[in-house]
Each structure stands twice: as C-alpha cells, then as structure tokens.
C-alpha cells in the first residue's frame, strides 16, 4: 500500500516535471511597486492561466534605474531577461543599443501577429518608434503629468472644489488662500524636471530641446533657458519664498506628502492615481496641468512618461513566440482598458480608451480621463515627446540646479543657464559615444 502511494507520487512528480518542461518560461523584469506591482503580477497570472505553452515570470528588480543596471549587468554576463521594463528616460540608450534588443514589431510579425502601430495613441507610438518608422518597444505603462488637488483642503480654505485652478496665476492665488487657512504645504511637485521643465515645454508648445526634442537626431541641444522657462521658474521660486510651494524631494518622493494630506496640490504622474485612489483619506480631484493663459498655443499636450517593454536579443525562437503571444494578450482592448482603469496609466490604444468611455468609467470617476484628453490631441514637433541621450544624467542635473533655486543659492537664470550648459555636455558625449 505504502509502496503504491509512493510510486504514484513519484509518477505524478515525473508528470508534473515533464509538464513544467514543456512550458517555456519567460523572464520579465519590472520596477512596479505596491499597487502597480500587484497589477503586473495579476497580468502575468491571467496570461498564464489563459494558455498552457508559456509561463510569464515577473520579477521585481528595484527602481527603474536599478532594474536597467541589473539588466545591463545580466546581459554582459549572458543572462539577460527576456522582457525588460525601461522607463522613458532610458529609451534613447536602449534605442542606441541595437545589438541588445529586438524591435517589438519584428517579434510580433515573426510570430504571425498583426501589428498595427496606428492602433496606438499617436504620442505614445511616436515616442517608441525609430526614425525608420519601426516600433522598437511595447508601450506598457505610459503616463503623463497631471495635477491633483485635495478637495477637503480646498473646502477648508473657501476655494471651489468642483473646478481646479487651471492656470498658474490661479494656482498661486489658490496656494495663498490655502496658506492663509493654515495649510503648511499648499503646493508641491514630484519629478520636478519632468513636470516643471519637460512637460511644461510641450504643454506650452515651446521646445525643450532642438531637433524635435531629440526625436529627430542625436545632435539635439537643450533650450530651457528661454524667457518662458525663466518666467515659470521665477514664479515657482517666488512661491517657494512665500511658502506657497514647498520642496519635498526628488523623483516621486513628494507624492507621499499629498497622500498624507500635508500638501494640498501636486504635479505628478497620472500613474499616481492608483495610490491616491487606494490610500487618500480625503476627497481629491484630478485636473490638467496649469498653464500660462497668455502664451500662444497653450495648452498643447503633455509629454509621455512611464515605461515600455523591451525584448532582449539572443533568445530561443519559442521564447520570442511566447513574448509575442503575451504582448498580444495585454494589447487586447479589454485587458488594456482594465489596466488603465486600475492604474491611471494611459490606455495606450484608442480602442481601450473608447471601451473605457463606453463603460461609463470616466463619468463615474471624474478626472480619470484627464491624462488621456491631455495626450490625444494632435501633436506638434515641439510636443511629440522628449528623447535625449544620457537623459538620466540630465534629469539629475535638473534636480541639482532647481534645488539650488528653491534653496535660494542660485537665481533662476543662473540655474537654467547651468542646466543648458551641463546638459549639452552630456548630449555631446552621447552623440560622440554612439556616433550619432
């Protein structure tokens, strides 16, 4: 009897092992934390349950820059993952690394899937497309910069809660009222370089960098020393001096101060929505980024942020087939729409947007369509997106110089001039290193 059970168990074990062998595992490295991390795991689980041949294994590899570094190290050692999530800042680097990646459009057509880049929102597809028109990476969690405000705090300050301040002068006025009502942090911003310089530029239809913000070639140079940029940074510096804008740190660190209720207004990624929806203990509103009403052409559209999925080179054919079938799965309008509604990231395809609209989601959750409507306008050469080499360093330069403005150590003019000078050195180096 005992022997029989043992034999059975052994047989079952062998069978299971054989079954596992037949399945092709696909390693997916990502940088999604908390609610967004759960989302990624759920996507993998849904896909794995939907078919038997492939198994997507998502692995959290640290923040965006950490996972990219990990992938680089792994690639050099011959152990690269199959799919790698790379933030928009790393896009130019990935595009230049032609030997390390396989274009997504090739992966899809090789596996026999129809791949229509026109199905995507043009600002999204345009950003991840090579000058040759080939789509290089799969738009996954695309976001853009929007404005969040705390309705409870607005109410306490006697401000209208049904309409967010839509221009910068209105933001200043609202911040003053919030301060007068005893609010310690009326306004803050996360990702200061992305929101206050990069997105600010395309939102006002002015260049952030030449050569179509770098999309047309590697010889782009920064243009953030323009009068409009100067005016905006001077405005923010004045707000900082009066305690209307409180600096809360780099990257997404300031977001915590909005969720906790400490800061009443924040500029940050639309991908922050999932966190707010889950954790904010107050009524909140989403709105488009503020603009200067006297600037011609404003508001235009905001720039894309977030990340895309890159397929690494040197894998077996069946792995590429699995990747293609996974991408096809997560491109389905209903999957896309569900992801969009859950996270606040852009729907990426027009079909997913329509589906969400028809389901009445936007009507039920006012403001969730802000990011989409901000993005689906017809883009100009100045607003299509920003794609620069050594972008990681440029972002840090923006952080370093702006911090000195908020701290009163540099004038806005000095800081912007310095960003241009130091940033251009980085661009020249990237151009030289990649023979662009």
């Amino acid at each position: 009897m005992k022997f029989k059970t043992l034999a059975l168990a052994a047989a079952a074990g062998v069978l299971l092992a054989a079954n596992a062998q037949a399945q092709t595992e696909i390693q997916w490295w990502h940088s999604m934390t908390a609610v967004n991390g759960e989302w990624v795991n759920d996507l993998a689980k849904q896909f794995n349950e939907s078919q038997k041949s492939y198994k997507i294994v998502p692995t959290f590899k640290g923040s965006y820059d950490e996972s990219m570094t990990a992938a680089v190290a792994a690639f050099r050692a011959g152990n690269a993952p199959d799919i790698l999530q790379v933030f928009e800042v790393g896009t130019a680097t990935m595009m230049a690394s032609k030997k390390a990646v396989v274009p997504v459009s090739k992966v899809m057509t090789d596996a026999g899937y129809k791949f229509d880049s026109k199905a995507y929102i043009s600002a999204v597809a345009g950003y991840y497309t090579a000058p040759s028109g080939e789509m290089l990476s799969f738009p996954f969690n695309s976001s853009t910069t929007i404005f969040y405000f705390n309705k409870d705090a607005f109410k306490a300050a006697g401000l209208p809660t049904d309409k967010a301040p839509s221009t910068w002068p209105e933001v200043v006025a609202a911040a003053a009222k919030l301060k007068a009502s005893g609010h310690k942090c009326p306004f803050t911003t996360a990702w200061q370089g992305w929101t206050q310089l990069e997105s600010f530029s395309s939102w006002h239809n002015v260049e952030f960098a030449t050569r179509g913000n770098g999309l047309q070639g590697m010889d782009a140079r920064l243009k953030v020393d323009s009068p409009l940029h100067l005016r905006h940074i001077e405005n923010l510096a004045n707000m900082a001096k009066q305690g209307l804008f409180v600096y809360k740190g780099r990257g997404n660190v300031p977001e915590a101060s909005f969720v906790s209720g400490e800061c009443a207004m924040i500029n940050t990624s639309s991908g922050f929505y999932g966190n707010v929806a889950k954790n904010a203990k107050f009524a909140y509103g989403l709105a488009p980024l503020p603009y200067y009403p006297d600037v011609q052409g404003a508001p235009q559209n905001t720039v894309i942020g977030g990340a895309s999925l890159w397929v690494m080179s040197g894998k077996k054919p069946e792995q590429y087939k699995g990747i293609a079938s996974f991408f096809d799965f997560i491109s389905k309008p209903e999957v896309q729409a569900a992801s969009h509604q859950r996270t606040g990231y852009l729907p990426v395809t027009m079909a997913a947007y329509k589906l969400t609209e028809d389901s009445g989601f936007y009507a039920k959750n006012p403001g969730t369509d802000v990011a989409v409507t901000q993005m689906i306008r017809k883009v100009t050469d100045k607003s299509r997106g920003i794609r620069l080499g050594n972008y990681v360093q440029i972002r840090t330069i923006e952080d370093e110089e702006l911090e000195q403005v908020w701290g009163g150590k540099k004038t806005p003019k000095e800081a912007l001039d310095s960003i241009v000078k130091r940033g251009n050195e980085q661009l020249e180096r990237f151009q030289k290193a990649n023979k662009g």
């Binding site: 680089v72 690639f75 390390a100 809360k248 360093q393 911090e403």
Partner: protein
C-alpha cells in the same frame, strides 16, 4: 648559531602564502586592474561596442568644475566621519571599560549598529530627520530650529555624517574596548596609588598604550569614509541639495550604476584609489611615528 627557526625550503614559504595571495589577487588586484582598463575605454551601456579613448575620461573629469568641488566635499566629510567616529567611540569605550555591572549588555547594545547595512542606516536617519514627519526634525522645530536637509546643504552634510559615524562607532568601539582591556591592570593601579586621577591616567597611560589601535582605526575610518559610504548618501540625500553631499564615492556609484557611464566611473575609481593609497602612505610615514608599540 641562529636562534630563530628558519625554513630552508625554497618552495614552502610560497606555498604557505599562496592562499592569501590568491585571495588578494582575485578580490583586489584583478578588479583594480579591470577598473583601470575600463577607465581607458568608452563603452555603450550594454558593452556591445568598446573604444579605446586613452586618457579622455580623466581629462573630462578634471575639466568638470563639479568634480573638483566634490574633492572639497569629500575632504570635509571624511575628516568629520573619521574624527568624530574615533573620538566618540573612544569616549564610549573608556566609559564602558569602567562599568562594573551589566558590561555585556552595554557592549552588545553599542555593537549592534554594526550589523545594519549602510543603506538601511541612511533610511533610518532620514526618517528621524525628515522635515515633515521626522521625530528629530519635529523636536528641533519646537526649539525654533528649522530643519530642512532637502534644501540646506549644511544640514544635509550633518545628516550623512551622523549616519556614517553612527554606523562605524561599533567597529571602533570593539577595537578600543579590546585595546583598553589589554592594558595591564597593574600599571593603572600603580598610577592610582601614586595619586593619578582618572583623567591623568587616561592621558598618561591609557591613551599612549592604545595608540597602535588608534592609528589602525584612523586608517580604517578614512578608508571607510572614502569607500563604503555611498549607500548612506544614496538613501539619505542622493548627493543633494545641488551637489552639496556628492562625495567622490557616491559619484562613482552614480555614474557607474545609475547613469551607466562605466568609463567615467572607472576613471573616478582609479582617482579615488590613488588618493587612498597616497593617504595611507602619508599616514604610515608621518602619523605612525607618533605611535609607540
């Protein structure tokens, strides 16, 4: 007749030091050679194209004003970390040496921070000093002192020095306690009988007798401040505000692991290596003269 034991074999000494040499070669010389090799190259992120650029990476470094600035930052940081770290732990060790009851308990508590990873230490201190949520920042605010290390460079520096010193105190403490214990009790007792108070005994007997340990710790602490503190800086300040806490080793880490500029990062490590070698030589040549063994 020679009194010392002598090995006549010509190969045995080599065999005996071989394991040690192997360890040094694999874990020190080889990576160091790699770093120097890489500092002469320019590579793209994934390493698919490599180009020899000679001394370009170094040239670029020394024409970068912010790099030269970070020498000053690093000097200030390492003097503060090594100085404060040694003085504070010596003080603690002298006190712990006089404790009669519960010695193990006190010592264990003092050694505990050594088990904490640098990045975790950085985060711990950031929590305490966070301008909005931190306990210490709140307490300072109550005394009318406005703490905001996000914008105040001096405070940011104070924060990373504090975290780095706190983390290193246990290590120093261990060595100091051991050194103090190894001083023969009879010496101290004799001095006490001659009428020397605790202060006099410390200056006249204990301090000179533990000077080899102090010297050793000086070297170790300088090396620690130069090489092992990037985790703290990364977690606490990211080198900001501006570049006010961007010490050399943090820049090596940032350029290599965040910005993926391996050539530039390797060139910086070569410079850093040179600095520490020079510093160590200086310490052995001049400071060691004051040490009595």
């Amino acid at each position: 007749m020679e009194k010392r034991v002598q090995f006549r074999s010509s190969w045995l000494p080599w065999v005996l030091i071989a394991p040690q040499m192997a360890v040094i070669c694999v874990f020190f010389f080889w990576p160091a050679a790699q770093a120097i090799l890489q500092s002469l190259q320019e590579q793209d992120a994934f390493g698919s194209s490599t180009e020899w650029v000679g001394l370009d990476n170094f040239q670029r470094l020394f024409s970068d004003a912010t790099y030269l600035e970070s020498f000053k930052t690093t000097a200030l940081f390492s003097v503060l970390v090594a100085g404060l770290g040694i003085v504070l732990s010596l003080l603690l060790a002298v006190f712990a040496d006089r404790v009669v009851r519960g010695v193990t308990f006190y010592r264990t508590l003092l050694i505990l921070p050594y088990a904490v990873a640098p990045a975790v230490a950085g985060v711990l201190w950031v929590f305490m000093f966070s301008p909005a949520l931190g306990v210490v920042a709140y307490a300072l605010g109550k005394f009318g002192y406005d703490w905001n290390h996000l914008l105040n460079g001096g405070q940011a520096m104070a924060l990373i020095v504090l975290a780095a010193v706190w983390k290193q105190i246990s290590y120093n403490f261990l060595f100091f306690v051991a050194a103090l214990q190894s001083i023969p009790k009879s010496l101290i007792e004799a001095a006490a009988i001659d009428g020397a108070g605790p202060w006099r005994r410390f200056w006249g007997i204990q301090l000179p007798l533990i000077s080899p340990t102090t010297f050793f710790l000086l070297v170790m602490n300088v090396v620690y401040a130069f090489f092992e503190t990037f985790g703290i800086v990364d977690a606490a300040t990211n080198g900001g505000p501006g570049k006010d806490t961007s010490i050399l080793v943090y820049r090596v880490y940032y350029d290599g692991f965040k910005a993926m500029d391996l050539g530039g990062s390797a060139a910086q490590s070569a410079v850093l290596m040179l600095i520490v070698i020079v510093l160590t030589v200086v310490q052995f040549r001049y400071v060691e003269k004051k040490v009595n063994y």
